[in-house]
Symmetry: none
Subunit: 242 residues, 2 copies
């Protein structure tokens, strides 16, 4: 469990998420990372199971693959919504099915990520959904991350240090978000690779080093460093000075 982001429902119990995907590998890895976030997770591999679990489990949010073996993800959503009108949905889609199948969905506050996705992004999107739907306890829970004088606004996709803006590329942004959500905790290159890069990325840990180097140039440039190397272990982000 990690207390840093203990995201709970208004009644204090953990947020409930139902994960629906027919590929066991994906279902497992998504379930794992959400459990790690401290949420209450159940899994379904078919549309039928999804509906059954939905009625029983009453989740706050559903991670739903659009392509299911037995039926269409959108019809599953309709059925779930009939019982729980306000449930949040994060769709998983293959790249080529994005345009035609997801029409209208993001307008209703729901969202989607395309396979292959990064876990960091999936979690961020899901947190965003829950926050905007007002399903979390902490109403002050804003889209703002702060570590020392470093501030990230996730909605505006803006990062500032000491008030001055910093431009980041998508990968740099994702990497920094991961570090900022785990301040003072050493993250290994493998962990960062698993969270920030897509699960089908075949590359080496060397890329992490490279992007840390990029980040340092933009964030620590001239100032007191916040990103620290722990030799043989990984990287840490700490407020400057301490």
């Amino acid at each position: 469990m990690n207390e840093r982001t203990a995201l709970t429902r208004p009644d204090g119990t953990p947020v409930r998420v139902l994960v629906v995907d027919d590929e066991p590998d994906i279902a497992e890895v998504v379930t794992g990372v959400l459990r790690y976030e401290g949420w209450d997770v159940r899994t379904a591999g078919t549309g039928r199971d999804a509906v059954r679990e939905g009625l029983d489990f009453r989740p706050d949010a559903v991670v739903l693959d659009i392509m299911l073996p037995d039926r269409d993800g959108l019809s599953v959503l309709r059925e779930l919504r009939a019982a729980q009108p306000h449930v949040c949905v994060l769709f998983l889609t293959a790249r080529d099915t994005v345009e035609d199948r997801v029409t209208g969905i993001t307008a209703g506050g729901d969202d989607y990520v395309t396979k292959p996705f990064s876990l960091e992004e999936l979690v961020a999107r899901l947190r965003g959904l829950l926050r905007r739907a007002g399903m979390t306890r902490d109403l002050a829970e804003s889209a703002q991350l702060t570590v020392g004088d470093l501030v990230m606004d996730e909605d505006a996709r803006e990062v500032t240090r000491g008030g001055t803006g910093i431009d980041l590329s998508p990968t740099e942004f994702e990497l920094l978000r991961c570090l900022m959500r785990n301040p003072r905790r050493v993250l290994s290159k493998t962990q960062l690779l698993d969270r920030v890069w897509s699960y089908d990325f075949g590359g080496q840990a060397h890329v992490v080093e490279l992007y840390v180097s990029y980040l340092r140039k933009k964030i620590d440039a001239g100032r007191e460093p916040m990103i620290h190397t722990v030799r043989g272990a990984g990287y840490v982000l700490k407020p400057a000075g301490r």
Copy 2:
């Protein structure tokens, strides 16, 4: 929820809307976007259900398909008005039924949109109806949107920046409205497609880029830019300078 447009009734409770359409996809997507606006929404698929829900739910406004499987939308309206004389109605009509069926409706204060419609326009029309009917709490709730020195008068369909008028085509206007209602928040091309373009639009996200380009020429021309590209994420509208 989005605090930016928390539109509430005089007693502070959310505005109530009844959505009546027999096509599940349309009912779903309309319901979704209205819930996203923070309103209290119920759905009916037939005229009979609509009347029953209307008597029970007592909505402030009704989104009503004129062509229903069991009965005529206008007769449904008559029945609803018998119980609630002042309820607002936004009709959904097919293009070819506009002339004969909806004549006189707008004179009574109600409004209509033709299928296929854009969600941005539907929401705007509905907001307009409620505002003019005095059903919203905030009477200062004007038809005016302001971001920096950029001002949009939704009723007059006029846009000015720094006092000088700007001519926009219908799509450009709708796109800008969407951006102005979400200042400082990055909107993805998919989100913009879903909100600004009709739900049956099969096209690619490339169109959004094109129209953003048009908007920039008219709004940012020569001045300090307000529309910003966030690579890999989407577009943001911000007051100039920040």
